[in-house]
């Protein structure tokens, strides 16, 4: 099996352009991951494929960079007191089950409707989940920004926390007690989404915020623990099949380890609702990107007819929009960090002036 896999693998030649692209996307992806707990993977896999890397190698190499990045990000944010290790591990267990369910669903769709059907399923999942969840996250962030109020625990989470359904678990850092049974669906959906669109955090983080009742800061930090556990498991599986191109992994890692630490530092500088702002914005732009990719699959399945040139154009616009999602997220993070630094500097100057008066 391994020999067959190795024979099928095609490792690309590296050029300075390829290396620069992977390093920059790795850095920006790392920055976003360090800040919101996930992100980057959705651009890196199609990005590597556009460079000529086979899909399986792209997924494997991307996953192999994801878990050490999550490890470094989680460690950094743990030092800031933002990681609830128990919450992350409990969620990771159910998320691992969710991944297996997601793989089974993918296999079923692939067997019945072929590759175009599978791609359409992935795109529809992307659009539906990202519009609904991302739309709500963005609306919540907009509401907090407009009112200037403090981030509050959702009404749903408060209701669920009051239901005494053993076993009840207390999460010390998140400072909440909730039944294990309410964390399981969030974990399962996180895994399911990770197996489908490779970014489980787009459900995991909002799930921990709005269903479990943890803050945005704790949720995004604990998501890195989930990403580490799931990423390690997935990487071992891919490595056993000999699909990891270590060169690609290490180049991405070079950028992402710089980015993830900067993102983690950013969470301590900016206002907490900025995590929701960044996450909601990225999710909505990614949803748009995947909607643009859908006509190709609908045409392949015979549901609509579109000429080849239009489909090529839509594919290009879709990929550029996806890159744009990551870039916009990075700009918001860096912009808000800069703003916070300026305010801190102004406060320091003010304090010094005050002392001298």
């Amino acid at each position: 099996m391994h020999d067959q896999a190795v024979e099928a693998v095609k490792f690309i030649d590296l050029t300075w352009m390829n290396v620069s692209f992977l390093f920059i996307v790795g850095f920006i992806g790392g920055l976003v991951s360090g800040f919101i707990g996930s992100g980057g993977a959705f651009v890196l896999t199609p990005g590597m494929m556009s460079l000529g890397v086979p899909a399986a190698v792209a997924v494997a190499s991307n996953m192999c960079h994801k878990f050490p990045k999550a490890l470094v990000g989680a460690y950094k944010r743990y030092k800031y007191g933002q990681v609830d290790l128990k919450l992350g591990l409990v969620m990771a267990v159910s998320a691992s089950v969710g991944v297996q369910i997601g793989i089974k669903i993918q296999e079923y769709i692939l067997n019945h409707w072929g590759e175009a059907g599978s791609n359409l399923y992935v795109s529809v999942s992307f659009v539906v989940v990202l519009v609904v969840v991302g739309g709500y996250v963005f609306y919540d962030a907009w509401k907090i920004t407009k009112s200037g109020a403090e981030d509050q625990i959702s009404a749903l989470a408060l209701k669920l926390q009051k239901i005494n359904l053993p076993p009840m678990i207390h999460f010390k850092t998140a400072d909440l007690t909730i039944s294990l049974w309410f964390t399981i669906p969030v974990g399962l959906l996180t895994g399911l989404l990770a197996a489908t669109i490779a970014v489980g955090g787009f459900v995991g983080v909002p799930g921990m915020i709005y269903v479990v009742g943890a803050t945005g800061l704790i949720s995004s930090a604990s998501e890195l623990v989930i990403a580490f556990v799931m990423g390690l498991g997935g990487s071992v599986k891919w490595a056993i099949h000999g699909m990891v191109d270590i060169r690609l992994t290490l180049i991405i890692l070079a950028g992402s380890l710089l980015g993830v630490q900067l993102g983690a530092i950013g969470t301590t500088l900016v206002k907490e609702h900025m995590i929701k702002v960044v996450m909601g914005t990225i999710m909505l732009i990614v949803a748009l990107s995947r909607a643009l990719a859908m006509p190709r699959y609908l045409t392949q399945l015979g549901f609509m007819s579109t000429d080849a040139s239009t489909l090529t154009l839509l594919d290009t616009v879709s990929f550029v929009t996806m890159c744009l999602a990551l870039a916009v997220g990075a700009v918001i993070i860096l912009g808000s960090m800069l703003k916070a630094k300026r305010a801190e500097y102004a406060a320091t100057i003010g304090a010094e002036t005050y002392e001298h008066v």
Binding site: P68, H241, V244, R247, A264
Partner: protein, 105 residues
């Protein structure tokens, strides 16, 4: 106080340079033998331990370097407690006795 800060800053810069050198050596070791490494790491089976162990080693070395680099550049985390406010002295308790109601009959 200032000398102490200068010393710790110098120490940080030296540490960053050292970790940067270790990271560079690790990257050079892999990329100077890229074709052999890629072929070995893609054999699958028990050879899976190589890519997994490699990314762990790189994440420790490069992760520590990246952390020190941001600190050396002055980009560091702040906590709410760390933001220093001008110390305003608390109002002194009044020495004057509280007025008491006295009634002379």
């Amino acid at each position: 106080m200032s000398a102490k800060t200068d010393n710790s800053r110098k120490k940080l810069v030296i540490q960053t340079m050292l970790l940067g050198a270790i990271t560079a050596v690790l990257y050079a070791a892999v990329f100077s033998h890229a074709s052999t490494v890629v072929e070995l790491f893609a054999r699958g089976g028990y050879y899976a331990v190589f890519p997994i162990a490699t990314v762990f080693v790189f994440s420790f070395a490069h992760g520590a370097f990246a952390s020190n680099l941001w600190s050396a550049l002055g980009i560091e985390a702040v906590t709410k407690q760390a933001v220093k406010r001008p110390a305003v002295s608390a109002p002194r308790p009044t020495k004057r006795e509280r007025p008491r109601l006295r009634m002379s009959v």
